[in-house]
């Protein structure tokens, strides 16, 4: 596993997808891994449907502001294809590594027929062309297999662990997941984590 002295990670998605929790767990795991961590996020209105983004900044010194400047994301974890492309255009660069959930969440104007959601393959292909590496996973479908759509966030965390994009060991992730979830929910979330992890590991090999 590579070691970094500074790493900017963006977790992007749509309100209600559980990406805020995912970013918290990634940040806590990074602390376990010995990094100084700053997290900036836009939430507060619990309402769903808006674009939601968290900036997780790993550093050896804790002097960073909570927001990543344009073009300086090293890793983008996208919970939704279109949002991933949107964030990539602002924060990405040709060296950025991307993990993307392929399941679209349609904005209401698209549902209303006023706007068109771009073709999914075009989006994914387009992301791929503009970054160093892109790993895609249908985390939502995998989560529904486990039983609940919300655990897509743990599928994504597992997948992130599987990609090796961040210098955080699997045991660090598992430790913070265990700390976070009560007994009742732990098993389902761990299962989701491993499904995400294995799905990705098999494919990148």
């Amino acid at each position: 596993m590579m070691v970094f002295d500074k790493l900017n990670v963006i977790i992007a998605g749509v309100g209600g997808q559980g990406n805020v929790l995912a970013s918290q767990l990634i940040a806590l795991a990074a602390v376990e891994a010995g990094y100084e961590v700053t997290v900036g996020e836009t939430f507060g209105a619990s309402q769903r449907g808006g674009s939601v983004m968290s900036h997780v900044r790993l550093n050896s010194k804790n002097s960073l502001g909570p927001l990543i400047p344009k073009g300086m994301a090293d890793v983008i974890v996208g919970f939704e294809p279109m949002e991933t492309l949107r964030i990539l255009g602002v924060y990405g660069n040709p060296r950025t590594k991307v993990l993307v959930n392929t399941r679209p969440v349609y904005p209401i104007k698209v549902l209303a027929g006023e706007q068109v959601y771009p073709n999914l393959n075009t989006i994914l292909q387009g992301i791929k062309e503009h970054v160093a590496i892109m790993v895609s996973i249908n985390a939502t479908d995998i989560a529904l297999e486990v039983g609940k759509a919300v655990v897509a966030n743990m599928v994504m965390v597992g997948a992130l662990s599987g990609t090796g994009f961040v210098p955080i060991k699997q045991e660090h992730f598992l430790k913070v997941i265990k700390n976070h979830f009560g007994e009742k929910l732990l098993e389902m979330n761990e299962k989701a984590f491993f499904l995400g992890l294995n799905n990705v590991v098999q494919r990148i090999k």
Binding site: A27, F43, A45, I68, K70, K109
Partner: protein, 638 residues
């Protein structure tokens, strides 16, 4: 990041906390015992945390009915010798301001800290307001933490200052402090457990005679600032250019200077206290400086303070060129003084001032969106799938159309403020402050003599009802104002994260509490009311139609729990679409459920066609009621 970390009793340990958690921790370490708040983003979680972890430290924490009551209760604790804290957003300070301007005159006893969560860029607010002006108006000194560690440390300092001058002190957090996280080194909380005794021993009277004393206290606060390292400078000695920053803007400035390679040229002067200013120390730094760039959010508050200071001392310190909001060098995303700053903005600002080019990190990736698909749809905020507000607005919209008398809807803030946008069918004609829809309805409802004929509906949330609506309803009853007040009762304060309110069966700490029934209060005011289920759209439409023409004020309580609470419990019903009955794009001139009703769980996408998104659907069944061919059905036994 985790509430449990807030109560860890290991001084020196580093834990990851959010800004709000750090403020709560700071309060605990400072021996604060009495906390009150009405929920408001971005600072709502401070009280959440104090209520949940405060017990072992003997802390009393309550969700108050509104910010004025909250402030008064916290002041009482201070009067009685107990350190106290009250937490609010700028809108809350507006509500409480009458008390604070009076409190300044009476002064306080034990330390009292007012946590203000400003929301530059209004991420989760109805407007952006720089609360420092009102704080200054009330003579409350203002501390502004730069990062999470400081959110904790300055909270403790704020109590010291408060007791030193005998006035409450404001700790101003912004969204990027409150909702950001960072590592915090914990301090000692052992002594915070010591019992305290409350007793009123003095008088606290607001009277004009106290004004001179108050101004002395302000001077004392400035002196405190001089002596307590509230100014921090980093950068080259004798720099000709400096950035003067408050709060997280200091971090943005530092990073911007690094990215531009200007760290040897420009220094950053950070003010931890933005009012009153430590004039002497400041003048020391300004002497010899040629250029000053201001970095603060949102209004030019320190900019005004410092430029005015310099105007009095021009001859001592020589000419300085200022770059700020007044001359529009420092701009938020939508202009000077509008919206939050960030590293990017300061990179651009400093590059412009210094006449250099900003480095390009993005390369070709910057144009990926145009390259891949030209543009992508914006993502408007929307009511959640199954949100009772969507059904309520559908019913109101239908009823007003059917009634056919040009009726309109007055709203206020809360999740249901989204009724002003497409997700609420653009139904709201006015949105202002808490409860103001009902106040406005009082006005409209008493204009019959001016040939006013339109039916008036005011919508309010349940939490808002307790906060600000009751006086307006009393007014309506007494003056026979004709309107229908629709209380969208989702049994929680949903917008800010589901805090309990006066109608809840538990209090902030999760302890059983008497729940005040909305209908009993309304009965007490002798206004007729009806309760309906917004999911039963057709019944709701009928009730509204029946109520609109009745004289005087009327209340309709649309009661259905917030789906976010319900989905925590687990969804109870599953819906599906019978494809043999669904008319798809021929329905209602095209997809009634997805296009017109516009629930995000009714999807109609090229890949999937018409279907229920099981990841989003909560099984409320409203679309099944509306579907003209009854194609949307309940999965049997679900």
């Amino acid at each position: 990041m985790s509430i449990d970390s807030v109560k860890i009793e290991q001084p020196g340990k580093k834990v990851l906390l959010t800004g709000n958690e750090a403020i709560a921790r700071g309060a605990i370490e400072a021996g604060m015992k009495y906390a009150t708040s009405y929920p408001g983003s971005p600072s709502a979680e401070v009280l959440d945390v104090l209520a949940k972890v405060g017990n072992p430290f003997g802390i009393y924490a309550e969700w108050s009915t509104n910010e004025k009551v909250a402030s008064e209760a916290a002041a009482a604790a201070s009067f009685a010798g107990i350190r106290s804290m009250t937490i609010m957003k700028p809108d809350g300070l507006n509500v409480a301001i009458d008390f604070f301007t009076s409190l300044a005159y009476s002064g306080i006893n034990a330390g009292m800290v007012v946590v203000l969560g400003d929301d530059p860029s209004a991420h989760s607010s109805i407007k952006e307001e720089d609360s420092r002006y009102l704080a200054k108006l009330s003579r409350l000194p203002i501390l502004e933490p730069m990062n999470i560690q400081e959110a904790k440390d300055l909270t403790i300092k704020a109590f010291e200052l408060s007791e030193f001058i005998g006035l409450p002190v404001v700790l101003r957090g912004v969204t990027r402090i409150c909702h950001a996280s960072g590592l915090v080194t914990l301090g000692d909380i052992e002594k915070a457990k010591a019992p305290v005794k409350a007793e009123l021993k003095e008088k606290f009277l607001c009277q004009p005679l106290a004004h001179p004393e108050l101004e002395q206290k302000v001077k004392k606060a400035a002196l405190w600032a001089e002596n307590n390292n509230t100014i921090e400078y980093s950068g080259p000695a004798n720099a000709e250019s400096i950035v003067i920053a408050t709060g997280p803007c200091a971090l943005y400035a530092k990073e911007a200077l690094i990215e531009l390679g200007l760290t040897d040229e420009i220094g950053v002067l950070r003010l931890k206290m933005s009012w009153p200013l430590p004039d002497k120390t400041l003048l020391g730094y300004l002497k010899g400086t040629k250029e000053v760039i201001f970095a603060e959010e949102t209004d030019p508050f320190i900019e005004e303070g410092i430029t005015s200071l310099v105007a009095y001392h021009g001859s001592e310190i020589g000419p300085i060129k200022f770059f700020g909001k007044r001359n529009e060098y420092v701009k938020g995303p939508m202009g000077a003084g509008i919206g939050e700053l960030n590293t990017d903005i300061l990179i651009d600002t400093l590059a412009e001032i210094k006449g250099i080019k900003r480095p390009d990190y993005s390369g070709s990736t910057a144009s990926c969106v145009e390259h891949v698909c030209g543009s992508i749809p914006l993502r408007d905020r929307a009511f959640c799938a199954g949100c009772p507000h969507r059904a309520s607005y559908w019913a109101i919209k239908a009823a007003l159309s059917l009634d056919g008398n040009n009726g309109f809807v007055l709203g206020d803030i809360g999740c249901y403020a989204m009724g002003r946008g497409p997700t609420g069918y653009n139904m709201l004609s006015t949105v202002h402050s808490m409860g103001s829809g009902v106040g406005l309805a009082n006005g409209f409802g008493t204009m019959q003599r001016f040939d006013f004929k339109q039916p008036v509906i005011a919508v309010v949330g349940d939490s808002t009802f307790y906060h600000a609506v009751i006086p307006a309803l009393i007014n309506a009853k007494h003056n026979s104002a004709k309107f229908l007040c629709v209380i969208l009762d989702n049994s929680t304060t949903a917008m800010t994260g589901h805090q309990p309110h006066s109608g809840s069966v538990i209090d902030a700490r999760g302890v059983d509490a008497p729940a005040l029934s909305i209908e009993k209060i309304i009965s007490g005011i002798e206004i007729p009311y009806t309760i309906a289920d917004p999911y039963d759209v057709n019944d709701t439409i009928d009730v509204i139609l029946a109520k609109l023409p009745e004289p005087g004020p009327k209340v309709l309580i649309l009661r259905q729990e917030c789906v976010l609470l319900k989905s925590k419990v687990g969804k109870n019903q599953k819906m599906y679409i019978d494809q043999t009955l669904c008319l798809g794009s021929k329905c209602g001139c095209g997809d009634l459920c997805s296009r017109a009703f516009n629930c995000p769980a009714n999807i109609n996408a090229p890949e999937q066609g018409k279907m229920i998104d099981q990841a989003l659907c909560v099984g409320c069944g409203v679309c099944a009621t509306l579907c003209p061919t009854h194609a949307i059905k309940l999965v049997e036994g679900s």
